[in-house]
Amino acid sequence: MANLRFTEQPLSEWMRSGGKESEIVISSRVRIARNLLNRPFPMLATNQQSEDVLNQLESVLQDQRMQQFGPLSSVLLADLDELDKKVLVEKHLISPNLANESRYGAVFISDDESLSIMVNEEDHLRIQCLYPGLQIEEAWEKATAVDDIFEAQVDYAFDDNRGFLTSCPTNVGTGLRASVMMHLPALVLTQQINRILSAVSQVGLTVRGIYGEGSEATGNLFQISNQITLGQSESEIIENLYSVVMQIIEHEKSARERLLSESRLRMTDRVMRSYGILLYAAIIDSKEAAQRLSDVRLGVDLGLIDTLPVQVLNELNVMTQPGFLQKKFQVSMSPGERDMYRAKLIREKLGK
């Protein structure tokens, strides 16, 4: 596939509006895992069985009721080159797992990229909704509506006691993973973050890096999600996550206020130095870029920088990732070269 629209633009349409609490919450995501009845899970499925699953699920897209979500594009992972897959992962449109498993792996993506439906990932079907800011409830409503349409046409593997049967025991029951991506620089700066994160893990939630399981939290971005999928209803899971996220927001807000009132000059210095580095650096690695972008984002949120739309920062968060950089400049790069192109891109983007 030559030009995949979704990999050309760094910013998904859904990211353009802010959403609730957007100074702290970057995005809300809901994913539900489903499997078809009487078919081996993707791990054990033969090529033929995987193809059948794909055909069966793809046919549901024709359902009249699917039209409310706008046209969905089907993308077969096998048709993509490595770079395009990487960019889709960087934009959170597919999971790293689907990128690696290209045997009849596919994704259906809505025009605004807020809905992506993965097929033959770890489970046969994974419905994902992404929204800007704090909108877990809204994301769940959309995901469950899509789920209902699939359920009307295909038989799910479901058990009275265990709920939706999934490939991994950690997803069984609701199959629901709700997560919220938060920017928490003030809690990190005031060294309260560890205390808060360990409290979070005690109420059945988990914290991960921004690209999911096993990835590191860079740029003060933390992804908070539910750990438990069995024995709690969807609304309980979402309310629980919501209330914990609201509390973290309050803590972050008060830490920001304190930083501003007690050390305004030092904060201004920090933010402006980072802004200066981003504006003038000739080489910058991804870790430093993420950290500097976080400082600048904080500066914008605190009103210390008033000339920069936050959207540019959202865009840069995606564009400075290895896959997107290479896509943008159309060259394959060594990590060292990437640092140079990354700096160039940031200068261009901020210099406007």
């Binding site: 006691n161 609701t174 899971i237």
Partner: protein, 172 residues
């Protein structure tokens, strides 16, 4: 058992691959698995949640006290996955695995989720009867409450509703 690839190192990964109904068993060491790219199917290699899970799965309830280790031949009749493979991969092969391994799943789910029974969304078609059962439970609870409150008129109406639903179930 030695690795069937290098013949030197002990085999630490055992799994069954089923391609077009043809079953092949593998017993290999991690080094060879990684080289061949045959590492645990579906994972990208390295440490993952599934490695963690297999630690949990090795835990057999009462295995020390009663010697009830998972029998060697415990397997899913549908997809062929054995319990020992499941405990290494940390993943089920198909939905029937839940049925065949059922007796061993409660302790695992208890550890991962703190719960063993689903209370969330029920699919309309496949789970229609469960919705009725849940509705019945709700109605019975309310009936008890009304009787307790001595609101007998409401209680009678609830009783009729319950009878109607029960009749529907038995006719199915």
């Amino acid at each position: 058992m030695h690795c069937q690839e290098c013949g030197k190192r002990p085999a630490t990964l055992h799994f069954t691959k089923i391609v077009n109904g043809e079953k092949t068993e593998f017993h290999i060491c991690e080094t060879c698995a990684r080289e061949k790219g045959e590492l645990i199917p579906g994972t990208s290699g390295g440490f993952s949640i599934h490695n963690l899970l297999s630690g949990l799965l090795d835990f057999t309830p009462g295995s020390h006290a009663h010697g009830t280790k998972a029998p060697e031949n415990l397997r899913c009749e549908e997809c062929g996955l054995t319990y020992s493979q499941f405990s290494k991969l940390g993943r089920f092969g198909c939905s029937s695995c839940y049925k065949y391994f059922n007796d061993r799943l409660d302790p695992l789910f208890k550890r991962v989720h703190g719960n063993t029974v689903h209370v969330g969304k029920v699919p309309k078609r496949v789970g229609g009867h469960i919705q009725i059962k849940r509705k019945l439970d709700d109605l019975r609870r309310e009936l008890q409450y009304r009787i307790h409150q001595e609101e007998f008129e409401e209680a009678a109406a609830l009783r009729d509703q319950i009878r109607e639903l029960e009749k529907n179930i038995s006719e199915e």
